[in-house]
Symmetry: D2
Subunit: 342 residues, 4 copies
């Protein structure tokens, strides 16, 4: 198991979806950050299900408790533990899934790897784990806000649809049909300074790929023009350097930037100062109510229909998770960049 | 800087493209692997430039020297250092690049981050660093071969061309024009057992993304159907579980596999036993001889034409690098999987 | 901050002494270990204060809650979070310590390092943090018990006294005097197999030193004959190899062991199969009620008398902590030793 | 195997004593440090054997080669590889040791752990590995010198002798007798700022213990008054805080220090600003020419006399190694301390 992410701003999440609680320990957040429980809760509420007809109606509430590391609304430099109790866990819904491997889910692979699994609702592999990431991400975002870095995510594609106005329609159609659809989420970071990223293996682009691909259901990642840059010539794809005016409110040195931003804000694994732009592909939700062929734990063939509360498209709820991952990677690398020079 | 990759089979590369040498230290290779210097050299030769008209004619030779960790053609369990001297380094070619930032290259970002850089041919950011990866990858491949895992890479797209017969033509056209083209490389691992991958942050798919995105010029990564799965319904994309016949030569238990392999061999971050299939997008080479606008280190505008020996399409030489990264990730996770159960 | 210890069996502790809770996340415990909450509680109770006249009367109760990673009394291979709420925290006792640096304590150094500290009872630097280690240690002990490794600690010196019968007297004398005394704890591991330890930097002896020196108040560490071996000749100190009879109940191969065990069970950083014997020196408790000269946070001279509930000798309560550290190091290296050979 | 030490200033050593070379890769040294090959060589020469009658006469020369990371006498922020070729390796001397386990050495444990070992002169377990540490330590020392931290080591005990004038006599007596003696080395760091050390597991004292106990032949470690503080009362052992005059040449704020320094410069795992004082116990050299009982690899009893070039007391040559370890720990923590506050 590897439940830790980050080098300096380092998070460790824990918890199964239907156990007593999920949570996160953040080790490496510097002392002196002002942050309240409410700010963390606000971010967590953005991910909460039950906010529309299109996401699963389970009312998780998800009240976060700060167990350590924050004292009088200031970080101490000690580990911050954030806890979210699992309420409303209707474990009995899952009893019939105890022995059957749901197609597209991690049931089969967890059972094969560990010889045991918490079969209630996905256990550790459940998307619920990402609530802990969002809580930790709230702290990362606060660090970034202090240095002028802002992160925003948006859904740019649902199924074959790229026009935002039709997203709801597409998802509803799938839902009615007992089916699900995939989607693409784009996350952009603005105000990133030049110099974040640790070559050669921890290029900012590589660590972002790691972070985003660790979100359940993600099957693809690209930065800047991504896969589409393959079809261009070097002379089209290179971003020429240009004068971006003077820094520090017009009184500083000339800021060098790039005319275009095909690179998505990263060159040689290091941020250029331009916007960092990534896109991730989410597969259609694996939990569908259509009949599927599978096996049970004893090696007998079985047929499964996954009933219950499931998002027909995870993109909407995954957006804050994507933002959190971007925030944590950037906060980590912002801190790491203090080490570059003597 | 972060020049180490892997958790158990851990490599640390070092060296600038025009310094005395590049190399790699592998820490964590178990004792008792039979491997000779020649086997490593053979793999390295696959990456060597100068093998066709389409790749840079610099004759690097790249003779690998085994400095430690292998004794009488067996690994000792101690760190293995592999060294490759830099010969034929015509540093004077690069003197005029000393102060000018090449568009698409890491010159600008390294200078901004470190306040100093080895400006000769890309220095640490040069693709030459990947030779060390290929050398280490040879050892990873040998570990995998011992357990029946085989890795193969191929170029599946060059520019807009997907028909292999026309790749050469496309690259030559760009070369004549002083330009470059991008490409897509696919790497497949066969014979991977069920159970590799360390959730939740080191999902096999996430670590592979990290590994591949750390290769210079890579801008996108996908696994299985990747971005195209977005356009499918869950009922189309889920891979149903089926009977794959009996294991151990027909005498063992029924092997559960999947009818299709949209997932690319990974569920919940853990290998399913099906082929692992990844694709990576390489941008068109940044070094082109066309005129480009840029800046020098002192903040003066400049125009640059990058002359010299450069691949108009890095895909061909990057293929063995992709295979090496796949091999190292799988060898690492094969070893890590020993820790799953008591 | 670095609140994580271990490479494979990896613990991260969190919590301040007078915050809401302390706890630990264990990442890397293999699946399939049978362990109940009660077994963890039993170990924790051994450390609990209030068990005699000689240890601080604060009744902590310290009920451990298992938040994740254990399902139906079996480990899942997922992170195990153990939580202990802080009750009976009389924070007001500490208000007068808010601004004054207690000699021998970490008040001054935490304030200097972080610019902020939780001044209530030592905060993160409090010995209370070690309760989390003992809880995690219970799991490590269970792993070891399964392979026949047993750990026992004992106090071998209190002040100048080495006769166990007089320890109580010595401590009481110091207590009456408003003073404190130091002590030496010895921890022995029996049944350790040959081959644990990861040279060169993670020699078993080096990692044990790290582990024990991280316990609050420890000022010295030695293994086997330790400092006294300095005064011996090589011919006296070398442990000759001898026949220890046949293994596997007399039916296996000859077991090679050592005639003496000056080395304390470790050669070249790797366990020999003999008992591992370490001793650690605890300084006299820093909290004494005698007047001491110091400074406050604003740089004004001050005089302090530390009233309240404090152990005049930490050895007694530290013994289970020492056992826990030994257990965690050995469990970690027992797992790591799976990686030595192909 | 674990051949890496440090968190930010991270070294990885490689090489067997009688293989082609030993060396070290330093990853994490910031860019912009001025350092020449000669400065590294000078430090290495201090460790070199053959400088007196009392140390082994093997003339290693040990010329260091800088393979990467330093360009025009400045660090680049990229990994620094330092290589030392093994010359004068008379491997044939060791052929008779091929199958016999030398008492006190790692032959037996390496063979048991890895199933294979480079039997020529200790292989990886040889003290020769420490030359690589000294080379890396030269760079750490240079970083520290830039911020006014100075490190000095000295031998304070040889066998039972504590008077420096009689050390030579004691060692010679052992040598004549075909025997060896132990010793104690003290290493002091002066000018260390307040605030180095990363609680709770990477207390400066704990990491120093790890570092020093990883040096071959070390059996004990203590900081400040160490084991002797056990016999004192708290009122004697606590270091009271006092006014050390004003900082910044008398113009700054009052510097708070301690009247005594029983703690050895560390409180709660964090440096106090006082001198850091550690002492380590070296066992008598295991290689002695007296007859000793042992076993060979096939389980047959054997008698061994270790002939050849060996130091009868490793203290003298180990002193620069101790200094190097202290330097690397402090350089690492000096860099890490940049992360404490926002």
């Amino acid at each position: 198991m590897s439940n830790t992410f980050g080098k300096q701003f380092k998070i460790t999440t824990f918890g199964e979806s239907h156990g007593p609680a999920i949570g996160v320990v953040i080790d490496g957040c510097p002392a002196g950050l002002e942050i309240s429980r409410e700010e963390i809760q606000t971010e967590l509420d953005r991910r909460r299900p039950g906010q529309s007809e299109l996401v699963t109606p389970r009312d998780e509430k998800d009240q976060v408790e700060v167990l350590s590391g924050i004292f009088e609304n200031q970080t101490l430099g000690t580990p911050i533990c954030l806890l979210i109790r699992n309420e409303n866990a209707q474990a009995k819904d899952y009893d019939k899934l105890k022995d059957v491997f749901r197609p597209g889910h991690a049931d089969f692979t967890y059972q094969a790897k560990y010889g045991i699994r918490d079969y209630r609702g996905g256990g550790r592999a459940s998307g619920r784990e990402t609530a802990a990431r969002v809580a930790a991400g709230a702290i990362a975002k606060k660090i970034l806000a202090g240095v002028g870095i802002e992160i925003t995510g948006r859904v740019v594609q649902v199924g074959k649809i790229t026009d935002e106005k039709d997203f709801v329609k597409e998802i509803e159609a799938a839902k009615v049909d007992g089916d699900s659809v995939g989607g693409v989420v784009e996350v952009i970071a603005r105000g990133v300074p030049v110099g974040l990223g640790e070559p050669v293996f921890d290029k900012l682009s590589a660590v972002l790929a790691h972070a985003f691909m660790s979100i359940p259901a993600v099957k693809g990642f690209e930065i800047g023009d991504g896969f589409s840059c393959v079809e261009k010539f070097g002379s089209e794809n290179n971003d020429e350097f240009v004068d971006k005016g003077k820094g520090e409110g017009g009184k500083g040195k000339v800021v060098i930037g790039t005319k275009s931003n095909h690179a998505g804000g990263i060159l040689g694994g290091i941020s250029t100062g331009e916007d960092i732009v990534v896109r991730v592909a989410f597969k259609p939700t694996s939990s569908i109510s259509k009949k599927q062929q599978t096996f049970d734990r004893d090696g007998n063939e079985a047929v499964i229909e996954v009933k219950g509360r499931h998002d027909p498209c995870v993109c909407l709820r995954a957006m804050p998770v994507g933002e959190a991952m971007m925030a944590m990677v950037l906060a980590d690398h912002y801190l790491l960049s203090r080490m570059s020079r003597l």
